[in-house]
Symmetry: C2
């Protein structure tokens, strides 16, 4: 998915949010915003939005000298999700279809995303996840995912955000764990999960965890490590969490099952569902393509 | 009032809106947005927001070759307001305090502002203006304005938007018309009123109308004609409509009565009232000043 003109104001809001999290110094804020403005003025709009996101957060880290501004926020949401885990585990186990219930929780966990601001409330997260068990998907390719998993010999699970990955554990427990590899980002960016979060979430004890070698808040294969790319190409099944992975893998040249909560109008239009939708989407290579530059007005 | 970092995403939305109104060509849209991004990256943030607004709309006019993209929208809202006039005039005349009622309508008319997007609905305008007669002001210096008008020998009334200026007629009719001069912008910018709109609104038959010689969506004295500046400095009373005039005149070095509807969080914070407030504000020279760069988080 390419950068749409409607992404530009949103990038600026993301940059503002990030620089205010990283420092209270207004001189540094201004320097960051000026660099982001010129960066946006020059970037090829054929890049995907997370590539611009990566540039923004590199600027924030460089100008503030802060290697991981979202670290406290990530730790907080990891703890929040850990607290929800026992009750959710019980609820899932008592469902008629624990796999479907675990997918519901995993999709709802994708609400823990700070790419569009850190204004997320903890009680909002708790309510959303609790409600998720009784909700239907707006795009529901769950049966296709189940069928594909049947007989698969390798599953690559692309994680998204800290906190969210704690809830992914509940889905990992429904999968044949010995054939699952969980993937985190190669370096901190926004609240995206890294190896440190995977350890905090207990994922490293459960399944193989690798990083993708990149600090982009998505999965841009050209920027990932060769080791990751090989795993991506060879896996029987790829399950991808969240918008950043969707935006960067929508033309990945292979089938991907996307589990996400749609939080942005540009992505909503690309997928073809309203903002707020909860989606389990089987995306085949070139199954659809964006041809226009920007949402209709 | 200076440019705050929070104004930046909003500028980009304004630019997007304006370029889409001016042309459907996505290549031109991209060219405009890239120029606006670099322009924002370089502008001194000590300028006022309408100065950046002027730069944006000059870029839009240059790149599209369209001298007045908002012309149809302005005509539409002039007609809408004309349609409301007879009923509102009757209502005002039957009020105990017709002057106060006319000020209420004039403030509510300030809702017709496309600086933050053209998504304004006609029925929304009708309802807001109709409701205005029973509403109190969030900042209410009406009595001070009345006292100041008593014995004044010249009144300069700085208009804001097309459509809105039609409703300003009702307030002009409550003033001693022979000492009132109504001011419009010197050239088209957003939906701000020009001489053409003043003629369509019937203002030129009612009072003296002049333009300020500038295409900035506000009143930047250094950019206005010497003739206007002289009138501004010498008038007994200056009544100013809208946010753009407030942002550019908040350090004007003379007393100004601001009539506006607060539509943006940065201005709300500067004035000290919530977004949505309806304000009649007597602003004395340096009666308060903004010292911080950006709203608290």
């Amino acid at each position: 998915m390419k950068i749409f003109l409607d992404c530009i104001p949103c990038f600026l809001m993301q940059a503002l949010d990030a620089c205010r999290i990283a420092t209270v110094d207004p001189v540094v804020h201004e320097r960051i915003i000026r660099r982001v403005l010129h960066g946006l003025g020059d970037i090829p709009f054929d890049d995907s939005p997370p590539q611009m996101g990566a540039i923004i957060h590199r600027i924030v880290r460089e100008e503030t000298g802060h290697p991981d501004p979202y670290h406290p926020v990530k730790a907080r949401f990891n703890r929040l999700a850990q607290g929800l885990l026992p009750i959710l585990r019980n609820k899932i186990e008592s469902c008629d279809d624990p796999f479907a219930a675990a997918v519901r929780v995993a999709v709802s966990g994708n609400i823990i995303d700070f790419a569009q601001g850190t204004g997320l409330d903890e009680s909002e997260v708790e309510t959303a996840i609790d409600d998720s068990l009784s909700q239907v998907f707006d795009i529901d390719h769950l049966a296709r995912l189940e069928a594909a998993l049947d007989g698969a010999s390798s599953i690559l699970y692309l994680g998204d955000n800290a906190g969210e990955i704690v809830l992914d554990r509940l889905l990992l427990q429904q999968l044949p764990k010995d054939i699952v590899t969980f993937v985190v980002r190669g370096a901190p960016v926004i609240n995206d999960a890294t190896i440190e979060d995977a350890e905090a979430a207990g994922l490293t004890e459960l399944v193989e965890v690798i990083d993708n070698g990149s600090d982009i808040p998505g999965t841009v294969l050209e920027e990932c490590s060769p080791a990751f790319v090989k795993r991506f190409q060879e896996a029987d099944i790829v399950i991808s969490k969240g918008q950043g992975n969707y935006e960067t893998l929508s033309d990945a040249g292979r089938e991907v099952f996307h589990l996400l909560k749609v939080k942005c109008p540009v992505i909503a239009r690309d997928i073809g569902c309203p903002v707020g939708s909860r989606v389990v989407l089987q995306k085949k290579p070139n199954s659809f393509r964006t041809t226009e530059r920007g949402p209709g007005r």
